[in-house]
């Protein structure tokens, strides 16, 4: 394979070797865990802040505005200023709320989004933990956040919050099916659930190109369903600020609100990263057939750039959806899932199984 020049496993391996020379195996594992945790915390915060800024800029450009431009050059530290503001805000206790659950909910939501980050392959050799059921794991933990949302809506003792939470519950439970089935399509193609394995299988072409039309269909279904799963417009019924003021986080303030806010953006990053990994080849560069020169140029772009550019492209598409479409009604939302997305993806997966059986894919 030609894309070996930016392999992170040499870097991580040398760190490991250096640490092993200093201390015993147990301590090495502990130190590495702390280092990885710190790295993820840093990445989480930076990505969250960047995504909030990106969202504002994207929506501003779509709306003929300039967006944040006051704090720092081009407003790039606007979100940091917002974060400081949110940190200093009062945490308002809600009368007759359930204090334990009320305080717990933002943490559940944010932990779920944090867990999913671990399994994503960011670049060649840069993956915290390579599960052999990676796809399954990411889906499982990212859908856990509905528990946090339900708890938040229930415990805030607000009628708007409760409606928002109930909507969110119905929505995530049903859209989980479509997300799963559309990912399953690629799992069938690749023959593995391991995320690194799926990426490796795309070395000679991304699944969206190799998998014919069924892969395109499942990609579109994945985009729609995952947008719904992370409660973003046009499926932001759980928040629905024109109907329910702010939905499940109406009563939250200060840093607890910021947790929900951050988790929403990180969930967006996670689904975009998952989509990029599964459909668009993850950190694999773009190769065209036998154009050796072109392929070599592509290999010189580091794999981490490939991964993040694909992910941010998908994030941009999801933002594009949000800033174009009106919100669906709850019954239409469920109709879309059960009458359109689910049957189509079921047929699609049968079709893909048939293709794979006949060996028609590349």
């Amino acid at each position: 394979m030609s894309s070996n020049i930016y392999d992170f496993s040499t870097l991580t391996g040398s760190i490991h070797a250096w640490l092993s020379g200093l201390m015993s195996t147990g301590w090495v594992t502990f130190t590495e865990m702390v280092l990885v945790g710190l790295a993820f915390l840093l990445m989480y915060a930076l990505l969250g802040l960047f995504l909030v800024y990106a969202e504002r800029k994207v929506c501003a450009f779509m709306q003929n505005r300039v967006g944040p431009n006051r704090v720092g050059p081009y407003g790039i530290i606007q979100t940091i200023a917002d974060l400081i503001k949110l940190l200093m805000k009062e945490l308002i206790p809600i009368r007759k709320s359930d204090p334990l659950l009320f305080n717990l909910a933002p943490f559940i939501v944010i932990i779920c989004s944090f867990l999913a980050l671990a399994a994503l392959p960011y670049a060649k050799g840069l993956q915290a933990i390579d599960f052999n059921i990676g796809v399954f794991y990411v889906m499982a933990v990212s859908s856990l956040s509905v528990v946090g949302i339900l708890i938040a809506g229930w415990s805030s003792n607000s009628k708007y919050s409760l409606i928002g939470a109930m909507r969110s519950g119905a929505q995530i439970v049903s859209y989980e099916l479509s997300v799963g089935l559309s990912l399953l399509a690629i799992v069938v193609f690749a023959g593995t659930m391991q995320l690194s394995g799926i990426v490796e299988s795309q070395a000679d072409g991304w699944w969206i190109f190799k998998g014919h039309i069924p892969a395109v269909i499942s990609f579109i279904i994945f985009l729609i369903a995952s947008t719904a799963e992370i409660n973003r417009g046009p499926f932001d019924l759980a928040e629905a600020e024109s109907e329910l003021t702010a939905g499940f986080h109406t009563e939250y303030s200060g840093i607890k609100f910021a947790f929900f806010f951050l988790a929403e953006y990180m969930n967006m990053f996670i689904v975009a990263a998952l989509g990029a990994t599964v459909f668009l080849g993850g950190w694999m560069p773009f190769h065209v057939g036998h154009w050796e020169g072109f392929n070599n140029i592509m290999d010189y772009i580091p794999s981490v750039v490939w991964f993040f550019s694909k992910t941010f492209f998908l994030i941009w598409v999801i933002m594009w959806f949000k800033w174009t479409f009106p919100r669906l009604r709850i019954d239409q939302l469920l109709t879309l899932e059960w009458k359109y997305l689910l049957p189509i993806s079921l047929f699609n997966i049968v079709f893909i199984a048939f293709i794979v059986l006949m060996g028609w894919h590349f």
Partner: protein, 159 residues
């Protein structure tokens, strides 16, 4: 069979209508020249309000510090919400006759609704619109203004 066709036609029509909307927002995303936002505090130097802009009521004074207000009180009478108060004084003029002059022409900007009746009805055209629009202050009392400048006098028309 027909209903199956309809089902797929629905999907197709739906997606194409969604794409039409996405084309609009996408087009504007890639054309930053269409941005209409005015960068307000930065463009202060070039920001020119229209001549007729109703910023506040002013009393124009000429270079000799003369104004045209005779203190007749018609503007005070016509103001719907009492934002004008006129305090007049009587002073002796050159011929020794007592004459009415304004002491203070008080204008409460905080109460003004910009209906233009004072300016419209003024018989001597002593009032006009000012183009200043940055009226924000920290104290409400600062919005009460005295329109005639200190030491100003009534402009005598040549007879």
């Amino acid at each position: 069979m027909n209903s199956i066709l309809e089902y797929f036609a629905d999907i197709f029509k739906g997606i194409s209508s969604l794409w039409a909307g996405m084309r609009i927002t996408g087009k504007y995303f890639f054309s930053p020249g269409e941005i209409v936002t005015q960068q307000y505090p930065e463009n202060r130097a070039t920001l020119k309000m229209e001549d007729r802009f109703k910023g506040e009521v002013i009393m124009p004074h000429d270079e000799n510090n003369l104004h045209a207000c005779t203190g007749c009180g018609i503007c005070e009478m016509n103001c719907p919400n009492g934002s004008i108060e006129i305090i007049t004084d009587r002073v002796a003029n050159a011929e020794g006759k007592m004459e009415r002059v304004i002491d203070k022409h008080i204008y409460h900007l905080s109460m003004c609704t910009f209906c233009e009746l004072c300016i419209k009805t003024c018989p001597s055209n002593a009032l006009a619109w000012g183009q200043k629009f940055e009226h924000a202050v920290f104290d409400r009392s600062k919005l009460t203004k005295v329109l005639n400048q200190p030491g100003s006098k009534l402009r005598k028309e040549a007879k």
